[in-house]
């Protein structure tokens, strides 16, 4: 008997794309013989979904990984699966068979998806600036468009946030799933007139925001106006003139929200929910940033400390690999200087300007090589020796030479200060650093 339902993954992140065909699956794999190289993108088994019926009509492994189609980026459109916690305490994929055992069918499931884009509201604090979409309850398998509406939009204007589709189970694929396909990744604009004046700003696909007098204030908004609940860092919106602090009135078609599911069986109502979000495409799919949302979630789930048997050199190696993969994508000499570099940000935080590192040391290729050499040595089995150089979470605002040179260096965290690893990542490295520096002598070949 089904006791509870779960939507897994509990958080699915889609990636924008205007191409009609979603991305195929792939794995980013490290070649053990070339551990310093780029991760190989290995095509993986992918569902083929019929848009009309909503059925999975087959699976395939693409011959190669392709990110675009006719010049457009292919969106990443995640599936959310429904899992059932049954009497034995086991989680198993909810299927039509399991539903039949309960005297139910797939049409008894009720879905509802509510998403929103609150980026403008986050700055203006005006309720009428919230852009939201709601599918209402549905059980059918057709595509449900997520149409973002907003009280401060021009009449009839919306922002499409993509669509969701309840995948129709079949004998070959009896699992219960919902797919979220995000928007194309477009920018929308604002207009001071009811009928937007052509030509539109070349960056926008449509003017949707009503900026007429007495309506929305986003066009012309400034973080620097008195009383604004500014964010840290501030001013991260398109501005006209550039760097003026005055908003260009842009909106995008990103969104996040909640997927809800209810099922009534035997007079019991079971429910579950999951979260979806949409963000930009990954333009470096063969690299993983040094700190990701997954690290945050892992820390939230398992805590800031690692159990002794969880602390493995392989996990440290992965952090180091992500470090040099991150450096590959950085302009480290620029980050060491004024302007938009971290040294420039520190200058903005009222620290006297100085490069963070000696200028001779920040060539990105040399830094990448240095970090690669950490990984090389770790693969001998030696314990990490660089635990003390890691920046603690409470040192992100230390703008002394000592503080700024801690690792990860030359990078900004979400709060505008120097980036730090999660406490759980740091604890992993420190746990191993306290142990023997060489593998146990008893392991002698």
């Amino acid at each position: 008997m089904i006791q509870e339902l779960r939507i897994l993954p509990p958080l699915a992140i889609a990636r924008f794309g205007a191409a009609p065909t979603p991305m195929d699956n792939y794995d980013a794999v490290v070649d053990p013989q070339r551990p310093l190289g780029y991760r190989d993108l290995v095509p993986a088994e992918t569902f083929e979904v019929d848009a009309q019926s909503g059925e999975i009509v087959g699976t395939f492994v693409p011959p190669r990984v392709t990110f675009t189609e006719d010049g457009n980026v292919r969106p990443v459109a995640p599936f959310l699966e429904v899992w059932a916690l049954t009497d034995g305490g086991e989680l198993e994929l909810l299927t039509t068979g399991l539903l039949e055992d309960e005297g139910a069918s797939s049409s008894d499931l009720q879905w509802r998806v509510q998403v929103a884009n609150l980026k403008v509201f986050r700055r203006t604090s005006i309720e009428a600036d919230k852009v939201s979409a709601d599918t209402g309850d549905f059980s059918g398998h057709g595509r449900r468009t997520l149409r973002g509406t907003c009280p401060n939009f021009l009449p009839g204007k919306t922002i499409p946030f993509g669509h969701v589709q309840y995948i129709k189970p079949t004998d070959d694929h009896p699992g219960i799933r919902l797919r979220f396909t995000p928007a194309g990744g477009f920018v929308y604009g604002a207009s001071r007139t009811l009928a937007p004046q052509a030509p539109l700003d070349r960056n926008v696909v449509d003017a949707v925001y009503d900026a007429r007098p007495g309506r929305g204030t986003w066009l012309g908004y400034s973080d620097e106006d008195p009383g604004r609940p500014t964010t840290v860092p501030g001013g991260i919106y398109a501005q006209d003139p550039p760097a003026s602090g005055i908003s260009s009135g842009y909106l995008d078609d990103g969104c996040d929200g909640v997927v809800r599911l209810t099922l009534t069986v035997g007079g019991r109502e079971l429910s579950a929910f999951g979260r979806v979000g949409a963000g930009p495409p990954t333009y470096a799919p063969d690299a993983v940033p040094i700190r990701t949302v997954a690290d945050e979630l892992e820390q939230a789930l398992f805590g800031p400390s690692n159990k002794p048997d969880e602390a493995t050199l392989e996990r440290v190696e992965e952090i180091v690999r992500r470090a040099f993969e991150t450096i590959r994508l950085m302009n480290t000499p620029a980050m060491n200087e004024q302007g938009n570099g971290m040294a420039g940000h520190d200058n903005g935080a009222r620290r006297r300007f100085e490069p963070i590192m000696a200028r001779s040391l920040v060539d990105e290729v040399a830094l990448e090589n240095l970090h690669e050499s950490l990984l090389v040595a770790l693969r001998s089995g030696t314990a990490p020796w660089f635990a003390d150089v890691l920046r603690d979470y409470d040192e992100i605002g230390d703008l002394s030479d000592r503080g700024r040179r801690k690792m990860p260096a030359l990078m900004r965290g979400a709060d505008g200060r120097h980036l730090t690893l999660t406490r759980r990542q740091i604890d992993l490295i420190r746990t191993l650093a306290r142990g023997p520096i060489f593998a146990d002598e008893n392991d002698t070949p």
Binding site: N369, L370, S373, D443
Partner: protein
């Protein structure tokens, strides 16, 4: 035959060193250079000797540190042994700082640098003791304590005498204090009649090593703490990398280097090498001699037919590494050690002028590569200490890192030649890596694959530098190679 060092020192050793520490400390006469040497030349001679001593101490301390960590220590004391290990590693790093500072002093005097040293075991009368690679023990620690000691020990008299007696027996002769050499340097460099102000080249600082480039955060207790957390009284390493452009800066550098060894200033007693070695000595004395220490062969070498081969645990003789795989790892270790020294010395040939933002040199890359090779030495040492030195005695002593000096550390005159030397070293490494990959055991293969790939990348970068250097005239005006 007497070494060049001994020949030149003949006229001063008898009165300043060979008669013992106390007499030398009391010497206050003006510097009198040995015959054949001018005053400036004598300072350079002493600095080059100091570089050799610091280099030798660093390597011996690394070897001693790598020997620690055998699993026979009681479980509740293993963290202490780990802390001792990290402390000795920290002292070795500080010796590297001393070496680099001495090279800065040589650079300031526009003198030839010295990254060379003799093979182990070796001694000269100005060495504090006969240098040898041996595992940590009460004997070796006693020797290090005496070498790093101030003239006056603030420890119980019985203990002082015990340590000195043990050190003298272990070293086979009275152990000199390193401080004597620095005292003599201080005397020579202070003497304005011997060294003129013009002898110090302030502009040479652009070529010298700076803390900002080489310090890696080893200051104010910032690094080394984690592994030493079980013994919080042992201080974290503090790297001294001091740039020198004037006499006052030179004297300050020498004073600080000497201070770090002996800890003469009030409040710094626990931070000196002397005190740190003493703390470890006392801990090991309590735990038991050789407990927590790997049985490493002394003075391990890839030279199977050397003149001074002896028993594997005799510190006064060499131990050939005859285990086939261990020998290959030892060769790889030697190649990486050479690479480290060549990177280090090459970095001193390239300037870093902060006021010149337009000229980029590979100096930073060489500095990073130097550290990369330190990581490699640690990695290969870890693989060596797990392998027997002799395949005929699989349970016998382990092979330790040999630290054998390469056939030359002279750099070619022009950049193209230097980068070709780097390429040669990488090619030599590739041959050993290939042999180990095909003939070695599974343990270490992951490391070899990664190392081979890193070397391949570096070789590609060096090819570009060789090609680029062909566009630059060589310093003597000769056509580019």
């Amino acid at each position: 035959m007497r070494s060049r060092i001994t020949r030149h020192l003949g006229s001063v050793l008898a009165e300043r060193v060979a008669v013992g520490p106390s007499a030398a400390e009391e010497t206050i006469e003006p510097a009198v250079p040995p015959l054949e040497l001018s005053g400036r030349d004598y300072a350079i001679f002493l600095l080059r000797l100091a570089a050799e001593v610091e280099h030798g101490l660093m390597v011996q301390y690394l070897f001693a540190a790598y020997s620690l960590g055998a699993p026979d220590a009681p479980e509740d004391r293993q963290a202490d042994v780990r802390a001792w290990q990290e402390t000795i590693l920290g002292i070795a790093k500080e010796e590297m700082g001393h070496l680099v500072t001495v090279e800065n002093l040589l650079t300031a005097l526009t003198a030839p640098l010295n990254f060379n040293r003799e093979e182990f075991p070796h001694t000269t009368p100005l060495y504090p003791f006969g240098f040898k690679l041996q595992p940590a023990s009460l004997d070796s620690l006693a020797t290090y304590i005496c070498a790093e000691s101030p003239e006056e020990w603030e420890v119980p008299e019985d203990e002082e005498q015990d340590i000195k007696n043990r050190a003298d027996v272990a070293a086979g002769a009275p152990v000199n204090r390193v401080g004597l050499l620095y005292a003599e340097l201080m005397r020579v460099l202070s003497d304005e009649t011997t060294i003129s102000p013009d002898d110090f080249n302030d502009a040479s600082r652009a070529f010298q090593a700076s803390w900002h480039e080489w310090g890696r955060g080893y200051r104010q207790g910032q690094r080394g703490r984690e592994a030493m957390s079980s013994l919080p009284d042992l201080p974290a390493p503090e790297l001294l990398i001091i740039e020198v452009g004037t006499r006052a800066q030179a004297l300050n550098a020498i004073a600080q280097v000497g201070e770090q060894g002996e800890g003469l200033e009030p409040g710094t007693e626990n931070e000196s090498h002397f005190q740190r070695f003493l703390a470890i000595y006392r801990g090991m004395n309590e735990l038991g001699d050789h407990v927590g220490v790997r049985r490493l062969a002394t003075n391990p070498t890839t030279d199977l037919e050397g003149p001074d081969i002896g028993e594997p645990e005799d510190p006064n003789t060499t131990t050939p590494i005859v285990h086939e795989e261990a020998k290959l790892w030892a060769h790889l270790f030697n190649v990486r050690y050479r690479k480290l020294l060549v990177n280090l010395s090459h970095a001193f040939e390239l300037s870093d002028d902060p006021s010149d933002r337009a000229t980029l040199t590979p100096r930073g890359a060489l500095i990073h590569r130097t550290f990369s090779e330190m990581y490699n030495l640690r990695a290969i040492a870890g693989l060596l200490v797990e392998r027997p030195v002799n395949s005929g005695d699989p349970d016998g002593p382990r092979a330790g890192p040999p630290f054998q000096i390469p056939h030359t550390l002279m750099l070619p005159q022009d950049e193209g030649g230097r980068w070709r030397m780097h390429r040669d070293i990488l090619d030599a490494a590739a041959i050993v890596i290939e042999r180990l990959t095909s003939e070695g055991s599974a343990d270490g293969q992951d490391y070899l694959a990664a190392l081979g790939q890193a070397d391949e990348t570096e070789r590609g970068q060096i090819e570009l530098l060789i090609a680029g250097s062909a566009l630059t005239p060589s310093p003597n005006g000769a056509p580019p190679a």
